[in-house]
């Protein structure tokens, strides 16, 4: 036999593509610049566009008069090779970032790209290898990157915080932050504050102990960790049964959606996830702080300054991880708005957590009642072993993690609403690390569902208009100074609504359902609207009636015709 032919050494896959692994330089994105992000609307500098989570842009080239002419400018396809985690549940959930003419966006399965935002050309790519057997409650997803200090930050599926060179995509550091053997994972879009990068845990369906973490943005060294379930002796530990109880160890309260931030107060407003086990409350007597809460965390120390719990002693999987949108009342009072899974819309004073008002924003609420003064009365819940209990909203909530937006010109908050119920049957089980820990069998309704975009006045609680749809709304809204609200639907349409009336002005069929966050930016005087598409994630939770819908993972970008 002759000698073997020399096959050489394996090379990066991207070297066999058109990618040049080089993006144009961008100016430094630092703390001051992010604080003033609204003053440079051509960019989308941070996950929500601005620290306050308003998802509002002052760009108005695309407006209610000309939006009917909007056309695709380009499409970017993510694609995949080989076997990967969540092969049937991946979803393109991110919100892209645009800085000085470069787009940065993450996709499923550890992928990050730098893209030319005018052409869709791939400038560089990085792919973090994600173990096939990572515990994932809700699919192979990632909600986005943070860009700053010359770097791009990603929190990976297996709970690593990685930093990449913004110009080349080369790895700068890789810090392991979560325990995949304990069922932890990562999906949150990091947030840059000062010289730190903030991320939070995922894994609430596996009985983890939730936390948020701050890292040195240059080195990846952890500055602080804030556990969102107190251990014995700490404030709030009395809400987890007696001092010998073990429930706190698996208590949940994960932080898998990006916090909002008030630079004046130096407070992060972090929503926390469900307690574990989700539906079996008997093994965790008490209110179970700080699950289903907003915690106001001192950005300098990681200490919790105040909290407000939206669903004490949750028995319905009502995470409160979704955004806490910051806005100011006409009298200057600093407020926070939160549309919870439990179907109620809360307005709090964000300086101290005091309840300002609470009102329902969905049509059907049967799990319980919250009075205008905030008193919570559970009514229907799975408390008897083996007995099915039906309730509204289902465990995906009246609104899931996908984000609402606030338009200061109309004074309205645009909420993507899901009207879906579910049946849970309590089934007690022992806790075992990395095994799902729900404490129930759950079946979300396959029919009798619908959705709408609700335009809500947060100062009065009045619903000014709603745009109805046959299916629940499972994607974030975006609102602009062009008098528009953008919303993606589960059936693939991307629509533009009149922000004042809710009238549908335009739509485009993207070929797969939306479960992401659209954004807008401007380059060379041309405004663009970008939206990742790709139906997936926890579909069995928020809309099982469309479990058979077409998957996808494409990023669409729209603009007005250049002529």
């Amino acid at each position: 036999m002759t000698d073997y032919v020399d096959a050489g050494e394996a090379v990066p896959h991207r070297t066999l593509s058109a990618t040049k692994q080089q993006a144009p330089p961008i100016n430094d994105v630092n703390y001051e610049r992010i604080q003033n992000a609204r003053s440079e609307p051509e960019n989308w500098l941070t996950y929500y566009g601005t620290y306050d989570g308003q998802r509002y842009s002052t760009l108005n080239q695309i407006n209610k008069d000309n939006v009917k002419h909007l056309v695709p400018a380009w499409v970017f396809q993510a694609g995949s090779v080989g076997l990967h985690a969540g092969a049937s549940t991946y979803s393109f959930e991110a919100c892209p970032i645009v800085v000085d003419g470069v787009m940065f966006v993450s996709g499923p399965d550890g992928k990050v790209w730098a893209i030319d935002p005018t052409t869709g050309e791939e400038l560089w790519r990085y792919k973090h290898a994600s173990p096939y057997d990572t515990s994932l409650c809700c699919g192979n997803v990632n909600r986005g990157v943070a860009v700053g200090h010359g770097k791009v930050y990603l929190y990976t599926l297996n709970a690593h915080l990685i930093a990449l060179d913004a110009q080349t995509g080369e790895l700068v550091f890789d810090t392991v932050n979560g325990d995949v053997r304990a069922g932890e994972s990562g999906s949150v879009a990091p947030l840059i504050v000062k010289d730190m990068v903030i991320v939070g845990s995922a894994g609430g369906e596996f009985g983890t102990r939730g936390h948020m973490d701050a890292f040195d943005a240059q080195t990846g060294e952890r500055r602080w960790r804030c556990y969102t379930v107190p251990k014995p002796g700490e404030p709030g530990s009395e809400t987890w049964g007696d001092e010998n109880a073990e429930a706190w160890q698996r208590g949940g309260a994960n932080c898998w959606v990006t916090a909002t931030y008030d630079p004046e107060l130096e407070l992060l407003f972090q929503g926390t996830g469900n307690p574990a086990p989700d539906f079996d409350g008997e093994v965790r007597p008490g209110d179970n702080l700080y699950t289903d809460s907003v915690v106001a965390v001192d950005v300098n120390t990681g200490e919790i300054r105040w909290h407000y719990q939206f669903t004490p002693h949750d028995l319905w999987d009502y995470d409160s991880t979704m955004e806490n949108l910051l806005f100011d009342a006409p009298d200057g009072r600093k407020l926070l708005a939160h549309a919870d899974k439990n179907g109620y819309f809360f307005v709090l004073d964000r300086t101290n957590g005091e309840l300002v008002r609470v009102f329902p924003f969905v049509d059907r609420i049967t799990w319980g009642e919250i009075t205008p003064d905030g008193k919570v009365t559970p009514k229907v819940y799975p408390d008897e072993e083996g007995v099915p209990v039906h309730f509204w909203p289902g465990p995906a909530g009246g609104k899931e993690w996908t984000h609402m937006s606030y338009n200061p010109e109309t004074g309205l908050i645009y909420v993507p609403v899901q009207e879906v119920g579910a049946t849970a049957t309590r089934r007690r089980r022992e806790f075992k690390e990395s095994i799902p820990y729900w404490g129930a069998g759950v079946a979300v309704d396959l029919d009798d569902h619908y959705g709408f975009v609700a335009a809500i006045d947060p100062l009065t609680g009045e619903e000014k208009w709603r745009w109805n749809h046959e299916y629940p709304m499972c994607a974030s809204t975006l609102t602009t100074a062009g008098g528009l609200v953008f919303q993606g639907t589960p059936t693939g349409e991307f629509v533009a609504l009149d922000a004042s009336t809710g009238e549908k002005l335009w739509q485009f069929q993207c070929g797969s359902g939306h479960h992401s966050s659209p954004m807008t930016y401007e380059v060379n005087g041309r405004q663009y609207i970008a939206v990742p598409t790709g139906w997936g994630g926890w579909v069995e939770g928020f809309l099982p009636g469309l479990l058979g819908a077409a998957a996808g993972d494409a990023l669409f970008c729209f603009a007005l015709p250049e002529s």
């Binding site: 073997y4 032919v5 096959a7 394996a10 076997l83 973090h128 990572t134 325990d179 304990a182």
Partner: protein, 153 residues
């Protein structure tokens, strides 16, 4: 209880351990198990071969003690051309393996966890040329939750 030999016998009897027997291809995950060796330089090394007409990476499962740097030697003893696309932090790596060829792949992979690689030509992956790299170990203490040890399955 089924011993390893019993399992191999059962797979053979069922016609699942070869090409074009009961099924069209070879059932994934039915090949041999190998263990990487860690060198003084900290690199974990292993060799896989593609035997003639078997359309399989042998061993089809390689176990590593922990995540880190990997050097995999790939040898194609088959009379057909294949390749391997392997996961690695940064970007998957690809090596083209013509008949009777030999090459290496240097990978960086975190542990614990399982990664799959395959020959991405035609449907090599479905016929049997899909294999696993399995990393054991624990995450660093700094990444663990502050709680007492918990029961595992």
């Amino acid at each position: 209880m089924t011993s390893t030999d019993d399992r191999a016998d059962e797979l053979h009897a069922a016609g699942l351990d070869g090409q074009n027997r009961t099924a069209l291809g070879r059932l994934l995950g039915t090949g041999n198990i190998g263990h990487a060796e860690e060198g003084d330089d900290g690199v974990m090394r292993a060799t896989v071969r593609i035997p003639e007409d078997q359309l399989i990476f042998d061993p089809s499962i390689i176990v590593f003690p922990h995540g880190g740097s990997v050097e995999l030697t790939l040898i194609n003893d088959d009379k057909n051309t294949h390749c391997a696309v392997l996961p690695s932090n940064g970007d998957p790596k690809i090596i083209w393996l013509v008949n009777h060829s030999k090459g290496i792949a240097r990978l960086e992979l975190g542990g614990p966890g399982t990664y799959y690689y395959g020959s991405t030509t035609g449907n090599d992956e479905g016929r049997g040329l899909t294999a696993a790299l399995v990393f054991g170990g624990e995450v660093p203490d700094s990444a663990k939750l502050d709680r007492p040890p918990q029961p595992r399955p």
